[in-house]
């Protein structure tokens, strides 16, 4: 893929989308993430009237989209009095929600305990501990459902001690996106968005954002992305047919659900890094694959998807197994095309 090199840098930044922010707490820095148009990877693949944008949620202070629902769930808990001094925040989470809760617990002065399968990435465990939260490990053979069950047991043994945000069943999760992600996308696309695509983990992002966008324009298509099989490597996403279905998930609000394979999502992560300069996690790779699958059939459209986080938390994971081989194969493909065209002209 050809790359234009930057000339002077003067016209590289659209100042309009770079807000100057000053805050007295990280709570205030959550949201208002940038929307990046994906242009290099899609060159030659899309019709002229089709554009794809990605909301870069890695810009949140905790590093992921989960800062939004975590803040909202704690806010609702504090208002109702369910979360009050003396309580410990607990939840079953193998990742970004845990990091968000750990960060917010630190700021708000509440202890945090997080139940996660023992095979989550080393980076995640360390980040959670760095915020002062306590990780509790569940059986890796049982994946995230094992963490859900163990968390229930811990609360049952000591019911008065804990406040559980319960991201899978707490409507404040979706509400966070209804109140923030949805309006931001509407504003950033000046109401031009035609398709919204997001992965389903708890389903909060696709439910809340979708609900808001439909309220502004019922024609907007809401599309969910899920792994194509029960055994998959797409951290953060759930295969709904076989998982414990979240209480906040309402399938009838979706226009479409797209299954994505782990390998194609991983390769998209590599491609995004090398073509767009955006290093993301595997759920972002899956979202981008889905966006391309939708985009190639459109004559016109403004597709918005969500990149839930950046890729730095996954550098030690299996995401990067075999990637050198992938790079060699791609290079070989490029070279063979170049050689072919050389042969034609000589």
């Amino acid at each position: 893929m050809s790359r234009k090199s930057a000339k002077n840098g003067a016209d590289l930044v659209n100042r309009e989308v770079v807000p100057t922010t000053r805050a007295s707490s990280v709570l205030e820095l959550i949201g208002n993430t940038p929307l990046l148009e994906i242009t290099r990877l899609t060159r030659g693949l899309l019709r002229p009237g089709v554009r794809i944008f990605a909301k870069l949620e890695g810009f949140n202070p905790g590093g992921s989209v989960k800062d939004r629902p975590a803040r909202k769930m704690l806010e609702v808990g504090l208002k109702s009095g369910d979360l009050r001094p003396g309580k410990t925040i607990i939840d079953s989470t193998s990742g970004n929600t845990g990091i968000a809760l750990a960060m917010l617990g630190a700021v708000l002065g509440y202890p945090v305990e997080l139940v996660m399968a023992a095979n989550v990435s080393r980076e995640r465990k360390k980040i959670i501990e760095a915020y002062g939260a306590k990780p509790i490990y569940s059986d890796p053979m049982k994946s995230s459902d094992g963490a859900i069950e163990k968390c229930r047991e811990i609360i049952r043994d000591n019911p008065g001690k804990y406040f559980k945000p319960d991201q899978y069943n707490n409507e404040a999760n979706s509400l966070a996106h209804f109140e923030t992600t949805g309006p931001e996308i509407w504003q950033q696309t000046r109401g031009q968005v035609t398709h919204f695509i997001a992965g389903i983990g708890t389903s909060g992002t696709v439910m809340g954002t979708g609900r808001y966008l439909k309220s502004r324009n019922p024609e907007i298509r809401i599309i969910a992305v899920e792994p194509d099989d029960e055994l998959h490597g797409l951290e953060g996403l759930k295969h709904m047919a076989t998982a414990i279905v979240p209480g906040i998930y309402h399938e009838n609000e979706l226009d479409l659900k797209i299954p994505i394979g782990t390998e194609e999502a991983y390769e998209m992560v590599y491609a995004l890094g090398q073509s767009e300069g955006v290093l993301v996690g595997q759920s972002s790779g899956a979202a981008m694959v889905a966006a391309l699958k939708i985009a190639r059939d459109l004559r016109e459209g403004c597709i918005v998807t969500v990149f839930p986080d950046f890729g730095d938390k996954y550098l030690s994971t299996n995401l990067w197994i075999g990637w050198q081989e992938w790079r060699r194969e791609r290079l070989a493909q490029v070279l063979s095309k170049w050689n072919a065209s050389t042969n034609v002209t000589t």
Binding site: G95, S143, I321
Partner: protein, 92 residues
Amino acid sequence: MAVRVRVPTPLRRFTGGEGEVPAEGSSIRQVIEDLEKRHAGIRERLLDDKGEIRRFVNIYLNGDDVRFLDSLNSKVKDGDDISIVPAIAGGV
């Protein structure tokens, strides 16, 4: 060589719900072939179309990741303990 294989929840639909199943073979590859005979469909979940272990699957032989041993050619002894573990927790 007779071994026991621990199977994660997402693959138990192939083993009739069993979390641990017997298998035979003198290498990890042979054990997987034997698992396929007993539980049709399981090999495709573990190996890609080039016959390599899928990137999101980890296989442990007596607690050691076989990628750091001799991968699918790792030798297996009678009574060895093999675990198939999804490489990610699948959570959010």
